[in-house]
Symmetry: C2
Subunit: 348 residues, 2 copies
């Protein structure tokens, strides 16, 4: 298949598959990425190589354009081979490629973070730089359904609540990241590349994965897949349900949340008794969290939010609950007053 890959060259099954990927992105984004200018993070693994082929075909069909970006992390001896593979693929398919090398090991030492974190930062920084240089609208990432299932389990282990438990977003508007393959199993991507007779690089992990992620990937997820061979479908359903609930709560919160009054002091917010008594318990918990988050850093813990709501529902007045980041909530007759404690003042 010399020259860019073409939708017409595919069997009907795989052509439908590619159009399904485009339809998913349209559901998520409201429009197809294939009409835009896209930057694509390309490692050479099965996920990003599939996405490159799919995106190239769809962009070609819809007059969008595509730039591939490869970052050599300089962490493994084979990384030069990965880079060569990526270069060959892009040449064969006539896709512009931006290549960079970064010594991620040194970066991790300099910044005092782990290899995985340093690698991620370097990749996202590069993608964003290329996006701006090329005036691109979208950054395409190749996370697939197995990654999503793994992400859900990581969140479960960490104690993440609903709907965040449903896993990573298909679109991150702030960083313009789109994950068109998020509901596609990895095995389907392997079948696809085999069908178009294009190879990929195995085991292109860019950095040593963190121990927990490794064990979730190699131990927990395979266990669940053994117990329920349709587990990936279940993970996709959970993601869809979480997305629906997330949108609902975002909209409800947005409609309910009062703008800070003009005379409000900085580091202070209030929720009135009227608003609180008109709100359902799940909305109240989200109101507390949103107001506390708006006061600055320090993640408010679920248990403390439950406790605050319990006290509020019992009509306890004058009680104060402390939250991380030197924040507190004080229950009064008029409602709940949230504020950042000014330590200097308190001591002085």
């Amino acid at each position: 298949m010399p020259g860019p890959p073409c939708l017409q060259d595919l069997s009907p099954k795989w052509a439908r598959f590619c159009l399904g990927i485009e339809r998913f992105s349209r559901q998520i984004l409201g429009r197809s990425f294939a009409q835009a200018t896209c930057v694509l993070g390309l490692s050479g693994g099965v996920d990003s190589t599939s996405l490159l082929a799919i995106a190239a075909m769809l962009c070609h069909r819809s007059r969008g354009s595509l730039v591939a970006v490869h970052l050599d992390h300089c962490l493994r001896a084979e990384s030069a081979l990965d880079a060569a593979f990526v270069r060959n693929t892009c040449e064969k398919w006539d896709i512009p490629l931006v290549e960079e090398r970064i010594d991620v090991g040194r970066m991790a030492r300099d910044q005092g973070c782990g290899l995985e974190e340093a690698g991620r930062r370097a990749r996202y920084d590069l993608l964003e730089r290329v996006r701006q240089e090329r005036d691109a609208q979208i950054v395409l990432l190749a996370h697939q359904l197995n990654d999503l299932a793994e992400d859900q389990l990581m969140r479960l282990v960490r104690g993440t609540g609903w709907p965040a438990l449903g896993g990573m977003a298909a679109y991150d508007p702030e960083r313009r990241l789109l994950r068109p393959l998020l509901l596609t199993p990895k095995a389907v991507l392997e079948d696809f590349l085999n069908a178009v007779k294009h190879p990929w690089r195995e085991d292109t992990t860019n950095a040593e994965p963190c121990a927990t992620r490794n064990r979730v990937r190699l131990d927990v997820l395979p266990s669940l897949l053994r117990e329920n061979p349709a587990y990936l479908k279940a993970a996709a359903r959970l993601w869809r349900q979480a997305r629906i609930d997330q949108k609902h709560w975002d909209a409800t919160l947005h409609a309910a949340l009062p703008k800070p009054a003009p005379d409000t002091q900085e580091g202070e917010r209030s929720l009135s008794s009227t608003l609180l008594s008109e709100s359902s318990p799940p909305l109240r918990l989200r109101l507390y969290k949103s107001v506390l988050d708006s006061l600055g850093p320090g993640q408010s813990q679920c248990d403390a939010l439950f406790r605050l709501d319990e006290l509020w529902a019992m009509g306890v007045c004058g009680k104060t609950i402390r939250f991380p980041g030197d924040k507190e909530a004080r229950i009064g007759k008029a409602g709940i007053r949230f504020r950042v404690i000014d330590r200097k003042k308190e001591c002085g």
Copy 2:
């Protein structure tokens, strides 16, 4: 410690622990079980033996009463030893005991079900019979936080959605089952029985657990606990959040769901366009499910509900979606009509 165990004999720490168990049941039930007549399922394991001691003390203090129920499943050679242990414990603490023996193996063969299922049926039937005979209000079960975490994982494996993913209920009003230990880790119950110097029977599984449950218990849950030693706390938080969301959706659904019109044919229900367009997407999905469930057996799958809502939101008219149990939903101008397909009529 001859005679019934007594709260005053405990250290302050364990007395507070017992009062915490009572407080939890008051949150769940609106009143304390310790003022009622309770039936308690007693296997002789650490969970039910702890619950017996705790319930005996609390009932003694609040003038409730307690009957223990033990079922010998006749599945293991040691089951007679379990029965003897249970008898001794109840004699020592002066608690009435109802003992029965059932050949669960034969029951499973007769009813054509698994040993675990047969054992569960036999136990719940016996508990309900004794509850009625003794005119008791509550059946106490000893499920604890490790059981809850295991139940959440079982539900995750099976593809259960939110909020059911949060795990088993602390109270089942239909069968009057109360689980006062649901947020207490098993290790705390072991510490408690050690503190009151009372033994328990190890490994009193009443039937061969199903293979998946076994692997979740012995493999997946320990993995998650290794990754996050505070995982049980996370499981308890997830349960609390699910309970809050469940209550919210139950109430919202109850308020929104129209009574079937008097002229509605049996096996038929409708949801009007007005209602649907006023409802949020998560409420719509719950409305579909509730109406479909009311039409008889056959579990409606999440994916089909998503599809129905997608079509409705797109304004597609005349489209019909089939659901398990010979049910269908037809989208029309006036709304969605749900009905059971009369196969005889269709063919005749």
